[in-house]
Symmetry: C2
C-alpha cells in the first residue's frame, strides 16, 4: 500500500452578504473560488424582514438587531457545515468581507450603537435602518437634486444628475423633518455596509470607524474632487443640522481591498473562528456581486433579484463621460483603480412576486410555487402573442429616469387575458427596462461587449434569460456561482487576507461563467424590437415630465390623489335614501357578478 | 261563516328574455306587473353558452338549438310554477313577448331553419348564431363605415357615424369572406329577435316573417327615410351577394306593440299553454329592459349585466340631433311613437368576471363567490386611495368611441397593490365610461333627468351603485323588477293581448323603482372628478386616432402584433449553447422567484 501524500493546506475566505430579506455567509477556497459551505439567516422582524407602515406603502425599514443576529448565526452555521468538509479548519480562514444593501442608513448613538436597539426607540419606525427601498424621502430627494444641481461642485454629475429618495441624505433629511425626536437622539448615521465591518471589528464609533468608498461615493455624494462629503455650507443649505453631521464622519473612505480591522475575540468566539481575522471595508451587494461575476471593462454584470443592479467598470485612466440617469460613477467602488458604474431597476423579482402574491389564482398553486406553474404556461407563449405591454415601474424607476414617483402600467388586456400572459408581460417589461439601461451606457461611449447575469432569477428562470437575450438581442451569460455577492465579498476577504495582491487577480482565479449561454432567437428579437418601440414611447410619455406627448404628470397625480385619500381616512358608507326593508334586502347581497 | 267573494279573474302576460348565457321566461300580472313565476334555462353549448375559438379571442357564437330548447323549457317550467300559485290558469295568459341579444344574426335555409341545425354544419362555427359580442368583423365594419359615410343617404347618421363589428352587415360580410361555403348555403340571415317569434308562431320563412324595428333599425341600417334597408346598389358596393340578400327580407319592420302571429299548437302543447296566444314583434333585451324600467323622455335606463346598454327615448315630434358615437337612434325601437336612443359599454360585468376568473387569488374564494369577498374589501377603500386608474376597454369601446380594437389599460400599480384595489378600480373605470355616455347625450341636447339602473349588478352590488352615483354625481335609482328585460317583453305581450292600448300606458301600470336610491357623496364626487379628468385624457389619447397627444395606435399595434404572433405559431424553445449537463440542470428549475 503506497504512503498517502499530504495535500497542501488550502486557505479560505468568508463572504457575508446582507440581502433585502436575509443574510448569507459563504466560505470559499481562495485558490479557485470553490464554495465549501454556506448558511442563510432570514431576518425575523416584520414582513420577510421588512418593517412596513400600512398607511404608507413607501416605508421600508429593518431592525438592526436582525443584522447582528444574522452575522453571528450565518457565519457560525456556515463554519459548522464547513468543518464537516475534508480539509477545512477555522484557522485556515484568512479573511472576511461584507456586503450589504444600500443606501441603508442607521441612526446611531455616540458609541455607534443603533438607536433602535435602545428600549426607548425599539418600536419607532424612524429609529430603524432605512432600507434601500424606502421611498418616503422623495420630496427631500427632489430638493437635494435642485440645490445640488446649482452647486459649483456639480455634486450630481457622477450620479446621473438626479439624487434619489433611496439615498443617504434624502433619508436623513426626511427623518429630521418627520421624526425630529429620533433625529435629535441620533449622534450620527452610518451605512449598513460600514456598520457590520465596524461591529465585528469593534470599531463602531462614528468619527473613527473605517468607511467604504462604495456607499459613500454612490449614495452620500462623497468624491475626492470636492474633498470627501459635500461642503458644510451646502449641507447647511439643506438643513443646518446636516452640516453638524459632517463633522462626525471620517474624512476618508476606502475601497474594499483595504481592511478595516480584525475580528474581535468576542465575535470570533460566537461564530467559532479564531480572533484577529482581517475584515475588508464593506461594499454594496451589487458591487461585490459584480466582482464575484468577474466584472471587467466591457462586461456588464446584472445582479437579478428583487431589484436589479447593473454594474460595469471602466479603466481609471480612460475618458468617461458623465452619464445621465445612472446611479453613480465612483472611482474604486467596484474594482480599486477603476471607475465603478452602477445602474439598476428598482423592482424586478419584486414585481413577479407581487403578481404571484396578489393576482394569481389558485389553479397556479400557492404563492412561491406559483412561479413555476405560471412559467410553465408562460414559456409556451410566443413573443407578442398576448397582445400585452407593461411598464416595469411598480417600485418607481431607478435607471434611466431616476424617479420613485412612477408606477406600473399594463395595456392590451382583453376578456381572455390570462395570468401567465400577464406574468410573461411583466418579465418582458423588466427586459425592456434592462435594454434601456444598456442603450444608455452605449450612447455615452461605454461599450457593453458581454452581459453576465447572476442572482436568483438568472439561476432559476431559463425563460427569463431567453426573454432578456431576445429583447436585448445579445447573448446572456450566467455567473458560475449562485451566490456571487457573497463570493465577491470573500474575494475581498482573500485580498485583505494576503492571498492576492489585487481584486482583479483574485477575481480572475475565483470566478467564472456557466457553460449555458442564452442566445437571441432572430424571430423573437424582431417581435420584441417592435414592442420595444411601443414600450419606449410609453416610457418617454409617462416617465418624462414635459414630454411633447406628455403624460408625465399622470402617475404623479394618481399618487397625490392616493396620499390625500389615505390621509382623509376610510371609505364613506353608501348614501342611500331607502325604506328600512329595502335597505335590509339590498345589504344582504354583495358582489358584482353579472 | 260569510260567503267567499269570488275574486275578479286576473290576466297574465309572458316575457321571454334571451340573454348572453341563458334564457328566462317570466309570467306577470298585466294589472300591476306583479311577477308570478319565472324559470331560467342555461344554454348548454360551449363555455356558458358561448362557442369560442381558442385561436381567436374575437369569436363568440351560439348554437341555435339552445334557443329552441331554451324557449320550450323556460316557458314550460315557468307555467308549471305559476300553476301552483293561486288564481293562475294557462287560459288567462293573454300575450307573449320576446327579447334577445343583438345583433345576433343566424344563417338559415329557405324555410328559415338555421344551418347549424343541419348535420352538415353542426360543428361549423360560421354556421352558428353570431353572438352580439363577436368582434371578428372589425375590418368589414371599418369598410362599411367608410362607404356608408360617403353615401348620399347618410345611413350612419342615426347610429353615431360608425358601423360596428357587432352588427348585422359586418358579420354577414365577414362570413361571405371567411366562410364562403356557409354563406353560399345560407338562403338568408335572420336576427335572433325575429327568429324566436317567427319560430313560435310558425312563420320562419325569410321573405314573409314579421321583423322587429328594433334589430332592423339599430343594427341593419333600416330606416323609413331610405325605404327600409340600404339600397341594393349600396349593398352591391360592399359585395354583390349582399344585394341579393335584400330581396329575401320583408320590406317593413314593426315595433313591438304589433303582433307577429299566434302561438302554434305544436309549441303551445310543449309549453303547457293554449294555442293561439298572440306574440309581439321581437326586440332587443336592453330595449325591453328599458320599457320594464319605465323609460320615458329624460329617463336614462342602464341595463347593467355582462355589458351595459344605456337606453332613453325622445318625443317623436321633438327636435333631435344626430349624436356621434351612439349605437342608434331609431323611431319606435323602444316605445312606439318615440325615438329610441341606444348607447352602451361593450363590457362591464364581463370585466369583473374576467378579473375574478383570471386574476383573483385563492384567499378571495372560488370564482363567483370571489365577487362577494372582493367587494367586502373593496368597499372599505376610499375613492382614489388605491392610486390606480383603468380604462374599461377589455372588450373594446362601444360608446362613445365605437371601436372594438381597443383594449384595457391599468396604471398606478405598486408592489403593494391588492386584488380588491384593482377590482374596485375596474368598477370605477366602467363608471367613468358610463359618465362619458351621459355627458355625450347632454352635449347633444338630450337632457338626462333621472338614471334608473337594472340588471344583475344594479340588484346585487350597492358598492357599484354608490360608485356610479359618485362618479356621475347623480342619484342612481334601481328598477323595482329584478328582471326588467323579461318584464318589458311581457308588457308588449300585454299590449298585443289587448290589456292596454299603448306600451306607455302598460309601462306606467306595470313598472316602478325600488325605494333605495344611491345619492352622490360630495367628497367622493370631488375625488372622482379629479380622476375622471385623468381618465378622459387617457381615453382621448388611447382611444382617438390622430389625437394631438396621440397614442391612438398603441392598442391597435399590440393587436396586430398579437394576431401576427398567434398566426406564426407557438413559442420557440430557448436557444442555449451549453454542455449537456448544464442544459439539464437549468431545465430542472423554473419560475422567477427572486
Amino acid at each position: 500500500m503506497p504512503a498517502k501524500k499530504a495535500p497542501s493546506e488550502p486557505r479560505y475566505a468568508i463572504g457575508v452578504d446582507y440581502g433585502t430579506n436575509s443574510v448569507r455567509a459563504l466560505i470559499v477556497d481562495v485558490a479557485n473560488g470553490n464554495e465549501l459551505a454556506d448558511h442563510v439567516f432570514n431576518y425575523p422582524s416584520g414582513e420577510a424582514g421588512i418593517l412596513l407602515d400600512k398607511n404608507d406603502p413607501l416605508v421600508a425599514r429593518q431592525h438592526p438587531g436582525d443584522y447582528v443576529d444574522g452575522f453571528i448565526t450565518s457565519v457560525r452555521e456556515a463554519v459548522k457545515k464547513a468543518k464537516k468538509k475534508r480539509g477545512f479548519k477555522p484557522e485556515r480562514v484568512i479573511g472576511l468581507g461584507v456586503d450589504t444593501t444600500g443606501s441603508t442608513p442607521l441612526p446611531v448613538d455616540k458609541d455607534g450603537t443603533p438607536l433602535a436597539m435602545q428600549k426607548k426607540f425599539r418600536g419607532n419606525l424612524a429609529a430603524q435602518a432605512w432600507l434601500w427601498k424606502d421611498h418616503t424621502s422623495h420630496a427631500e430627494a427632489a430638493e437635494i437634486t435642485a440645490k445640488a444641481g446649482k452647486h459649483k461642485d456639480k455634486y450630481l454629475d457622477k450620479c446621473g444628475g438626479v439624487y434619489s429618495s433611496e439615498w443617504w441624505w434624502s433619508k436623513i433629511l426626511h427623518c429630521k423633518r418627520t421624526a425630529p425626536a429620533v433625529f435629535k437622539a441620533a449622534y450620527a448615521w452610518v451605512e449598513l455596509a460600514d456598520f457590520v465591518p465596524g461591529y465585528v471589528t469593534g470599531n463602531t464609533k462614528p468619527e473613527t470607524m473605517t468607511r467604504g468608498i462604495c456607499a459613500a461615493g454612490h449614495k452620500a455624494m462623497y468624491h475626492d474632487d470636492w474633498g470627501g462629503l459635500p461642503s458644510k455650507s451646502f449641507l447647511k443649505s439643506l438643513d443646518p443640522a446636516l452640516a453638524d453631521l459632517r463633522d462626525r464622519y471620517t474624512t476618508q473612505a476606502f475601497p474594499s481591498d483595504q481592511k478595516v480591522g480584525d475580528l474581535t475575540a468576542e465575535v470570533a468566539k460566537k461564530v467559532g473562528l479564531p480572533a484577529g481575522i482581517p475584515v475588508a471595508a464593506g461594499a454594496f451587494d451589487a458591487h461585490t456581486g459584480a466582482v464575484g461575476s468577474g466584472v471587467k471593462p466591457g462586461t456588464l454584470v446584472k445582479i437579478m433579484g428583487t431589484s436589479t443592479c447593473d454594474i460595469t467598470v471602466w479603466p481609471g485612466d480612460a475618458e468617461l463621460a458623465d452619464i445621465p440617469g445612472l446611479c453613480g460613477i465612483v472611482p474604486g467602488s467596484v474594482i480599486p483603480g477603476m471607475y465603478g458604474l452602477e445602474a439598476g431597476q428598482s423592482a424586478v423579482g419584486d414585481i413577479f412576486n407581487w403578481f404571484v402574491n396578489h393576482l394569481t389564482p389558485a389553479k397556479y398553486g400557492a404563492a412561491g410555487d406559483a412561479h413555476v406553474a405560471l412559467t410553465k404556461d408562460a414559456e409556451k407563449l410566443a413573443p407578442g402573442a398576448s397582445g400585452l405591454l407593461a411598464l416595469d415601474w411598480n417600485n418607481g424607476n431607478r435607471t434611466i429616469l431616476v424617479d420613485p414617483l412612477l408606477s406600473g402600467l399594463l395595456v392590451g388586456q382583453t376578456l381572455h387575458t390570462t395570468a401567465p400572459e400577464i406574468y410573461r408581460t411583466l418579465i418582458e417589461a423588466t427586459a425592456f427596462g434592462a435594454r434601456a439601461i444598456i442603450d444608455r451606457f452605449e450612447e455615452y461611449g461605454v461599450q457593453i461587449k458581454e452581459v453576465v447575469n447572476c442572482g436568483g432569477i438568472a439561476e432559476k428562470s431559463p425563460m427569463t434569460m431567453q426573454i432578456y437575450a431576445d429583447v436585448c438581442n445579445r447573448p446572456m451569460k450566467v455567473s458560475r456561482s449562485a451566490q456571487t455577492c457573497a463570493l465577491g465579498s470573500a474575494i475581498f476577504g482573500a485580498v485583505v487576507g494576503g492571498a492576492y495582491k489585487t481584486a482583479e487577480a483574485a477575481s480572475k482565479k475565483m470566478t467564472g461563467v456557466k457553460p449555458t449561454v442564452y442566445k437571441p432567437i432572430k424571430k423573437n428579437a424582431a417581435v420584441y424590437e417592435e414592442l420595444y418601440q411601443l414600450y419606449k414611447r410609453l416610457h418617454d410619455a409617462f416617465g418624462t415630465p414635459n414630454h411633447a406627448d406628455t403624460f408625465g404628470d399622470v402617475m404623479k397625480k394618481l399618487i397625490l390623489i392616493r396620499d390625500h385619500a389615505r390621509k382623509a381616512g376610510s371609505a364613506t358608507k353608501p348614501k342611500k335614501t331607502a325604506k328600512k326593508t329595502a335597505k335590509k334586502s339590498s345589504k344582504k347581497k354583495g358582489g358584482t357578478r353579472a
